[in-house]
């Protein structure tokens, strides 16, 4: 997804005095499956941009959002870009807080072994606690 990233960074105002130095907790809640709609892909674009602002970023995958990081995605036959490898690249952007809701995995008959990236599996109660601590929560 390199091309879009370059394009989207066009508007970042690195010189803004107000924005610099402030570190907020940003949480992206991914609840939608990939490919069926564009939300997952465009969510990932926001996540990557947020990394450029040195914010405290975390991601949660719950409900059908867990399908975004399931192993074995092959999209050639539907002619849509397979963006799942990008989740593995997040570490390189210093985005390391990836949480998955256990209840969502269980409902779908999935386990941590089915996921293509290292995550922390948490209960709904633990997720509630982390969500409550955030400054900005964007759910896709």
């Amino acid at each position: 997804m390199g091309e879009e990233m370059t394009e989207s960074t066009g508007g970042i105002d690195f010189e803004d005095e107000d924005a610099s130095g402030v570190i907020k907790k940003f949480m992206f809640v991914n609840r939608k499956a990939p490919y069926g709609t564009i939300y997952a892909l465009e969510s990932l674009e926001v996540v990557l941009i947020s990394a450029a602002f040195d914010q405290d970023v975390s991601l949660i995958f719950m409900d059908d959002g867990v399908y975004q990081i399931v192993k074995g995605q092959h999209t050639k036959a539907i002619d849509v870009k397979n963006f799942s490898p990008t989740y593995r690249a997040l570490e390189g952007y210093d985005i390391e807080k990836l949480y998955v809701e256990k209840e969502s995995l269980d409902q779908r008959g999935l386990t941590e072994d089915d996921l293509l990236v290292d995550v922390q599996v948490m209960s709904s109660a633990e997720i509630a606690k982390i969500m409550a601590e955030q400054d900005v929560v964007i759910s896709f």
Partner: protein, 101 residues
Amino acid sequence: MLHIVNKSPFENRTLDSCLRVAINEPGAALLLIEDAVYAASKSGTFESAMKDALGKVKVYALWPDIEARGMQDRVIEGIKMVDYGGFVDLVAEHSNCQSWL
């Protein structure tokens, strides 16, 4: 946290997911807007879930959306009505908010 839901519970499970998380959080509030206001209606299959939720989180519904959908006389007791100004107040009063899209 203020949790905002806009989907009917009869065709979408967003409200279930939101409540699964929100009931664990002391001080959580839930605001039903758009098609989610149908979750506030009496006598349906969602009533018991809503009543359970009322014991754990504060529940609000957006009156203009209730009215638009003809649900005025069907609202479950204990659910508080707000207008858009009340919606703004809820956002301001809680330290953060999440729209469960």
